[in-house]
Amino acid sequence: MSNHNDFEKTSPWGLFLQQLIVPALAVVTALVLGAIIMWATGNDPLVAYRGLLDGAFLKKRALSETLVATTPYIFLGLAVAFGFKCGLFNIGAEGQFYIGQLAAVWVGYNVHGLPAILHLTLALGAAIVAGAIWSGIPGYLRAKLGSHEVINTIMMNYIAIYLADYLVGLSGPMRDPASSAPQTPAVDASAQLPRLSELPALMASPVTRFTAALLVAVFAFIVVRWWWQQRGNSLRGWRNPWVVGLISAGGLGLITYVFLSSLNRIGGPFTDRADRLHLGFFLAILVAVLVWWILEKTTLGFEVRTVGASPEAAEYAGISIVRNFVLAMAISGGLAGLAGGVEVLGLERNVKSFFSAGYGFDSIAVALLANNNPLGIIPAGFLFGALRNGADLMELRAGVSKQIILVVQALVLMFIAAPVIIRKLYRIRAIREEGVQLTRGWG
C-alpha cells in the first residue's frame, strides 16, 4: 500500500538525531553569516567569537553566569511551547514573567516566620498562580469570545510592565522606603532559593542533609518505578519495578548525602561567594522533564496536543476546546510566572524598577528553535543563555557591537522558520514529524 516505510527503518534514536540536524545547522550557518557581517564591517570575527566563547564558557564564573541566564530561558521557553502545543501563541510570557516576579517578591518580604521550605514554596506558588491568572484571562477570552490571544497577551504585557513600574516606582506601594533607589525590599532569607555558594552553610547540619537526601530518594523511587514499568521490563524477581525503584532510591539518596557533606571539599561554585548560579537552573531542568511527561504521558497532555493538532478532530472526539484553551494558557502563564519567581528568589532577591530584560520575547525564539519539544528547550535555552552572556566580552575584545548577537539570533530563527533554506543548502531530506501549526489566522 503505502510506500512511506521510513518510519519502520528509522530507529527512535535516528529520528531524534534527524530532528537535531536542522536546528544545529541553523545555528552554525547563522554564526558563519554573523562572521561574514563582522568581517564586512571591518572587524575580526575570530577575535569576536573567541571573546564570545570566553565570555560564555571559559572565563572564571562564565559558565555559571551562562547557566544563570539559561534558567529563565528554559522556563519561559517551556511556557511558550506549552501554548503552541495547544495551538495558542502566548506572546505574553514577558508580562507573566513580570507578574510572577512581583507576586514572589511580595510573598517573600511580607510573609514572615515560616520555615524556609514552606515560605519558598509559597512564594513560588504565588508566582505560578499570578502568571496563570495573567495568561488565563486571554485564554478565557479566546475560548469564550474568540478574541485572538496574540492581541490580548500583548495588551496584558503592557498592563504588567506599567503595573510593575507603578508598584515598584518612586511612589509605588511596593517600594522599599529604606532605599533611595526605586526597588522593593529584599525577600526574607527563608524565601530565598539558595545559590550553590550558599549551600554549604545551609547543609551544615546532618539533619538537613538527611532530609534533602530523603527527598531525593523518594523522588527517585517514584520516577524509576514508573519508568521501569513503562519500559515493560520483566516484572519478576529483582527486576520488579518496586525492587528496582528502591535500589535506585537508596543509591541516589546515599550519593546525595555524601555529596552534600563534601560541598566544601568540592569547592568551585559551592565556595565562590561571587558565583551566582542558583538551584533555579536545576529546577528548570526538572520542570522541563515534568512538562514533557505531562504532554506525552498524560491524558491532559493528549487533550492539549489534540486540540493543537486538529481542533475539529478534538471536538469530534469529545475534547472540550474551551477547557483546553483556558487550561493550556493557564499552565503556560504558570510556567512563565514560575520563571519570574525563580529569578527573584534565586538571583535578584528583590525587584527593581525597569527590570525588563526581554527574556519573555526571546523565549518565543527558544521555543521555536526547540520545535516546542520540552526537552529540546534545555539546549535551546542554553544556547540563548550563552549568546546573551558572552556578548559583552565579545564587544569588549573585538569592538563589534554586541547587537550582532541579536543578528545571529534572528538568523537562527529565520533558518528555523524556513527550514527549506537549510535543507537546500546542505541537501537534507525532509522528515515528517508531529509539528505544530503556529497560528490559524486571526480569530
Binding site: 512511506h4 518510519f7 504521558k297 498524560t298 491524558t299 469530534y316 515528517r432
Partner: protein
C-alpha cells in the same frame, strides 16, 4: 486509419519518491471519442492527466497531439495545444459573473483601449456574445451575465466546460465530473458530452463509477497501480470484468443481504430543527426513527442539511428546536462526549479534518475517543502498552494496511484512513452507528469492505443511520430510505419499493408528500 489520434501518450513513466505513479502508460484518444479512464484512487489517473495538462513533467515517454510530438511544460502550453481540463473542484470565483470567470486570464480589450496601451477597457460584450454562440452550438445552457454563486452545481460545471471551449479546447479532460451531481444532472452532463463528441471534441472522462462508463464512453482504459491493465469498449466488457480489472481480484458488486429484523427504536427525532453557521435553518422539523437492526439511509444531494443533521445528532452543533432521543434518554445541551458515552458511533463526513488527527499515529487515532478510559488510561496517566495492544488487535481485525502502528495516519491511503475510523468506532460499545458519506473518495475494494461491515453491524442488532449522496450506496444498503431536500425529509420509503428514478426525482425536490410547488428546484440559467 486515416486520421491520427487526437492525443496519444506513449510509455509515460513518472516516479515520485517511493512511488511509481505511472509505469509506461499508453493511452490513445481518437478524434471525437469519449474515452473513460477508470481506476481506483491512487491508480495513477490523476498523475497522467496532470502530465498531459502540464502540471508535472514525465520522466520518460512521449505525448503526441494530432500526430505531432509535443512537450507540455505548463497548463498554458496545454491550453495552447487545445487541451482543456475541468477539475473535480471547480476553479471558479463565486462573486464574479459567468462571463468574467470565462475570460479570466484571456481578457479581451475593446478596440479603443489599444491606444491606451495596457490599461484597457474590458470587452464584456465580445465575451458574452462568444459565450452565447458556444452555448447554442453545443447546447450548453449558460447565462453569461449570471453570478456564479447563484448557479447550481450542474450549471457551474457547464461554466467550467465553457471555459475550456472558450479557449478553443479540442481535447477535454473531465476529472470525476459526476461526483457532485444528482443522477439527473449527471444524465444532462452525459448529453452535453455526447453532443460535444459529435462535433469533434475528444473527451477523457475520469471516473471510478462503472455505470457511468457504460452510459457514455466509447472506449475504456483501466488503470491499476500506475499501469494500464487493459483497454476495451462498453460492448465487450461487463461491470464485473471492469471491477476485477480495477481492483485486481474478484469483487462483489452487489452485496447479498438478508431481510432486516428491526426491533425497538434507538434514535428518534421529533420535529428537529438545526441552524447552519449563518443562523439559517438548515434542518427543518425532521421527524425520524432508526430502529435496532435496520439501516436507515438518508439520500440527498450534498448541502441539503445532511451535514447539519449529523452534527446535531452527535453534539457538534446545537439543536435549535425539537427533540432527539437516544434509547430512553433525551438529548439536551449535550456534549459530544456524553453522546458518545450513550453508545453512539460516528463516522464523520470529513475524515481528514474531523475523523482523524492526521499527524497522530494510527495507534493514537485508534483511541481518539477512548484515550481517557480504562485500560488506555489509569487516572491521568496514559497506558501506552494498552494502546499498542489495542492497535495490534484492530489493525489485524480490520485489515488496516499500514507500515506500522506508529505511522502517522495522514500518510495512509483514503481507504485505510477510513478503516482506522471504522475500527475505532466499532471497537467501542455502541448501539447506534451514524455513518456520513462513509465511502466518499474511496476505491472499490474499500467500499466493498465498508458496505459489508455496515450490513454486519445491522445484522448484529445495531441501528445504523447512513447518510450518503451516492444513490447506489443508499439503494444497496438501506432498509428504509429517507430523502432530504432543503432541510426537510420529503419522503421516506421502504427500500424494496424505491426505484432509482423515484429517489432521483425526490433528491431534486420533485414529488414527495411534503413538497409544495414553491420548492421546485431553482436554477438560474
Amino acid at each position: 486509419m486515416t486520421k491520427p489520434p487526437a492525443l496519444e501518450a506513449r510509455g509515460i513513466t513518472k516516479a515520485f519518491p517511493g512511488v511509481l505513479a505511472n509505469d509506461h502508460v499508453d493511452l490513445r484518444l481518437a478524434q471525437g471519442e469519449i474515452h473513460a479512464l477508470l481506476g481506483e484512487n491512487g491508480a495513477g489517473k490523476t498523475t497522467l492527466m496532470n502530465i498531459l495538462y502540464g502540471l508535472y513533467q514525465q520522466d520518460e515517454g512521449q505525448v503526441f497531439i494530432g500526430g505531432q510530438e509535443v512537450d507540455i511544460h505548463s497548463p498554458n502550453e496545454a491550453i495552447a495545444h487545445g487541451i482543456g481540463m475541468v477539475h473535480q473542484h471547480f476553479m471558479l470565483i463565486p462573486v464574479m459573473t459567468v462571463a468574467e470567470n470565462i475570460m479570466l486570464g484571456v481578457e479581451p480589450r475593446t478596440a479603443r483601449s489599444r491606444w491606451l496601451g495596457f490599461i484597457g477597457q474590458l470587452d464584456y460584450r465580445r465575451v458574452e456574445s462568444r459565450v452565447r454562440e458556444l452555448s447554442s452550438q453545443h447546447s450548453l445552457e449558460v447565462d453569461p451575465t449570471a453570478l456564479v454563486q447563484t448557479l447550481s452545481v450542474g450549471a457551474q460545471q457547464r461554466v467550467e466546460i465553457m471555459k475550456a471551449l472558450y479557449r478553443q479546447a479540442r481535447i477535454l479532460i473531465l476529472d470525476e465530473p459526476t461526483a457532485v451531481l444528482t443522477p439527473q444532472e449527471s444524465e444532462e452532463l452525459f448529453q452535453i458530452m455526447r453532443s460535444l463528441a459529435e462535433r469533434g471534441t475528444s473527451i477523457i472522462f475520469i471516473t471510478h463509477k462503472l455505470k457511468e462508463v457504460f452510459a457514455v464512453a466509447d472506449r475504456i482504459t483501466v488503470m491499476r497501480n500506475g499501469q494500464v491493465v487493459g483497454s476495451t469498449t462498453p460492448e465487450q466488457a461487463t461491470e464485473q470484468q471492469l471491477a476485477s480489472m480495477m481492483v485486481g481480484r474478484e469483487v462483489l458488486l452487489r452485496l447479498s443481504k438478508a431481510p432486516a429484523h428491526p426491533k425497538e427504536a434507538v434514535l428518534s427525532l421529533e420535529n428537529l430543527s438545526v441552524n447552519d453557521d449563518r443562523g439559517q435553518k438548515a434542518v427543518r422539523e425532521v421527524t425520524l426513527r432508526v430502529r435496532a437492526g435496520e439501516i436507515l439511509g438518508i439520500a440527498g444531494v450534498q448541502g441539503n442539511g445532511q451535514t447539519e443533521l449529523v452534527e446535531a445528532l452527535t453534539g457538534l452543533r446545537p439543536i435549535a428546536l425539537g427533540q432527539v432521543r437516544i434509547g430512553e434518554k433525551t438529548l439536551k445541551e449535550t456534549s459530544p462526549r456524553q453522546i458518545m458515552e450513550q453508545g453512539v458511533g460516528h463516522i464523520p463526513e470529513d475524515r481528514q479534518k474531523r475523523g482523524l488527527v492526521l499527524r497522530y499515529s494510527v495507534e493514537d487515532n485508534l483511541v481518539l475517543c477512548t484515550y481517557y478510559q480504562r485500560p488506555f488510561a489509569k487516572g491521568l496517566i496514559i497506558q501506552h502498552e494498552a494502546i499498542e495492544e489495542n492497535a495490534r488487535r484492530l489493525i489485524e481485525e480490520f485489515d488496516i494496511r499500514t507500515p506500522s502502528a506508529r505511522t502517522p495516519a495522514g500518510t495512509l491511503s483514503g481507504g485505510n484512513q477510513q478503516k482506522v475510523i471504522v475500527a475505532r468506532e466499532l471497537s467501542r460499545p455502541i448501539k447506534l452507528l451514524i455513518a456520513a458519506q462513509p465511502t466518499r473518495g474511496l476505491d472499490v475494494g474499500s467500499i466493498e469492505f465498508l458496505h459489508r461491515r455496515l450490513i454486519e453491524q445491522r445484522d448484529a442488532g445495531y441501528a445504523v443511520l447512513l447518510v450518503s449522496a451516492e444513490l447506489d450506496e443508499i439503494l444497496a444498503l438501506s432498509d428504509r430510505i429517507a430523502v432530504m431536500y432543503k432541510g426537510e425529509i420529503i419522503d421516506t420509503l421502504p427500500a424494496e419499493q424505491a426505484t432509482r428514478e423515484e429517489i432521483g426525482l425526490l433528491m431534486a425536490g420533485v414529488g414527495g408528500h411534503k413538497t409544495s410547488p414553491a420548492r421546485q428546484p431553482v436554477e438560474v440559467n
